[in-house]
């Protein structure tokens, strides 16, 4: 692999990681903070992609497109939360039902099975054009614009979430996820906090979908399929490298780093033609599994080493 190809793959990975990091943070908010796996995340990612691309197709400004995508994700999260809290349906089933319903809604919104929009309406375009005027080659400018816009959006998302989760309201959401009985005993309306948490997580997922749709230059009924495992991979890798006593801000930053490591690995492996794109999902599963095994390995490896040393010492003793 040439240095140019290596760097281009890395830039591409950087951009993709920034665009997918909000998705991983959305999964973190539902899975780790609320301790509830929310399958709606995948549906709201696709819904966000479809809504944003439809808005851009209809000549709306990209800011409006992003806001509508977030709103769409929020509504999907609200629907799941209402089914879960008011009808007392299991959280996973609630998420599945909403994700299934969104498939039809996506078809209705697009009025076809896929949709695209002219690239000059995308959020990346002004940044790319600016980079081109500064002499950056067009293709690299396109990759860099994704990374820059992704980083800027991510910075806003992380700042807002960090501030929100340090307010009295945010703390009550965290308490609800951590110990619902205790939260209730302290006067917290836990149902309303579950609603808020799922709305926030899915709004962010919708935003991520809107950004990725622009990176892919289109959306279709299958947008979002498999994104849950991508977000989960980024989250798990990020958690493996997160310091033990990290606060919320550090955790958000390490999830972003996890997203970068994941996409850098995928980009480099496919660019080096070690594996073609057919194997991307398998690679994702293996990377996630490896990351999930790390905490266990951290416990086991020192024990194995100690046993090996003991065995070697015993052998030395016998030889002497």
């Amino acid at each position: 692999m040439t240095t140019d190809l290596f760097l281009t793959s890395l830039y591409g990975g950087l951009g993709l990681s920034m665009l997918h990091a909000p998705l991983a943070i959305g999964i973190f908010l539902s899975l780790r903070i609320m301790k509830k796996p929310d399958l709606t995340i995948e549906g709201s990612f696709g819904f966000g992609a479809v809504l944003a691309m439809t808005m851009l197709h209809n000549e709306h400004h990209f800011i409006i497109a992003l806001l509508v995508a977030m709103l769409g994700g929020a509504v999907a999260g609200l629907a799941t939360a209402l089914i879960h809290t008011k009808l007392k349906i299991d959280g996973i089933i609630s998420g599945l039902l909403v994700t299934m319903a969104l498939f039809s809604i996506n078809l209705f919104v697009m009025d076809s099975s896929n949709i695209s929009a002219p690239m000059d309406r995308f959020i990346f375009t002004p940044v790319r054009d600016q980079l081109v005027t500064w002499g950056v080659p067009t293709f690299n400018a396109w990759l860099w614009s994704q990374a820059i816009v992704g980083a800027a959006v991510l910075a806003v998302v992380i700042t807002v979430l960090y501030l929100l989760y340090n307010t009295a309201f945010g703390l009550s959401i965290r308490a609800t996820g951590d110990n619902e009985r205790m939260a209730c005993s302290n006067g917290i309306n836990t149902d309303s906090r579950k609603l808020a948490a799922l709305i926030i997580a899915n709004a962010i997922s919708g935003l991520s979908g809107a950004l990725v749709a622009q990176q892919l230059n289109g959306a279709n009924v299958n947008s979002g399929v498999g994104t849950l495992i991508i977000g989960l991979a980024a989250l798990v890798i990020g958690e493996v490298i997160t310091p033990k006593r990290a606060g919320m801000l550090t955790r958000f930053l390490f999830i972003t780093l996890g997203s970068f490591i994941y996409f850098a690995c995928i980009s480099l492996i496919t660019a080096a033609q070690i594996l073609d794109t057919t194997w991307t999902r398998l690679l994702t599963a293996v990377l996630t599994l490896l990351a999930l095994c790390v905490p266990k390995l951290r416990q086991l490896v020192p024990a194995w080493i100690a046993k090996l040393r003991q065995w070697l010492r015993a052998r030395k003793g016998v030889a002497a």
Binding site: T167, A168, R174, M182, C184, G187, N189
Partner: protein
């Protein structure tokens, strides 16, 4: 003052019905510390669940300072009533720091809006409160509650329950999961706190000696009915053996 009037609780699982409380009447004046004892299935925990809103009684009303609170939900009642559970893990959020746990308790009954959850003055207040127990907990404010021992957790939970002085404190066998030494320490802390703040308290205990030694009044429940209700000299004159005999009869 809290008044329970004709409280009955029937559990119906669709196959059979089981009456746990039978038209129970109980009046507790403000500031009184009541110990409740009784065997398994006597209705003690059901009574607590009804008082703090986890359960709606089948019949009867709960008057709190003259107002019926039976229609108020669990969360709404939390402004009036604090409960400490037997399991130390129920009382705190393990992933949150001690300061964050205390901040949650400190805003009980208040609107939880977009103001900062913890301000500098709150930290100083929490440290001062924890320092009163002389367990060194004030130096651990920034540590996660999961790092606390069972006894430390129960002390923090107790402090959290009394942080915004509740109108009623429910202690649900709160020392049962602790070793005897720590249990004694927690009971002493409970006594001091309740007396100093004059908190109306109901404590469920399986420890006969504690039930006699602590509190102003002792109630024994059996089969969902009050079979003993004593206070003052009469209570102090009781022995664990006598109570045990009543248990057996």
């Amino acid at each position: 003052m809290i008044e329970l009037k004709n409280i009955s609780q029937v559990f119906d699982n669709g196959v059979e019905k089981k009456q746990v409380l039978h038209e129970l009447n109980l009046t507790i004046p403000e500031g009184q510390f009541v110990s409740i004892i009784g065997g398994n299935g006597a209705g003690k925990s059901t009574l607590f669940n009804i008082i703090n809103g986890n359960l709606r009684p089948s019949t009867g009303s709960i008057l709190f300072e003259g107002k019926d609170i039976a229609r108020k939900g669990h969360a709404a009642r939390a402004a009036l009533i604090a409960r400490v559970y037997q399991d130390p893990n129920f009382g705190v959020c393990p992933e949150l720091t001690i300061a964050e746990n205390m901040a949650l308790a400190n805003s009980r009954g208040k609107l939880r809006g977009l103001q900062w959850a913890i301000r500098k003055k709150d930290l100083a207040f929490f440290a001062k409160k924890l320092a009163e127990f002389d367990l060194g907990l004030e130096t651990m404010l920034r540590k996660k509650a999961s790092l606390l021992s069972g006894g430390q957790r129960q002390v923090v939970t107790l402090l959290m329950a009394a942080l915004q002085k509740p109108k009623l404190l429910l202690l649900d066998e709160h020392t049962a999961a602790l070793d005897p030494r720590i249990a004694r320490q927690v009971m002493e802390i409970t006594k001091t706190m309740v007396e100093e703040q004059n908190i109306t308290t109901i404590m469920i205990s399986h420890n006969m000696s504690d039930a006699i030694a602590y509190g102003d009044r002792l109630i024994m429940l059996n089969g969902g009915k009050i079979i003993l209700d004593v206070c003052g000299e009469e209570k102090r004159a009781l022995t664990p053996a006598q109570l045990f005999a009543m248990f057996e009869s």
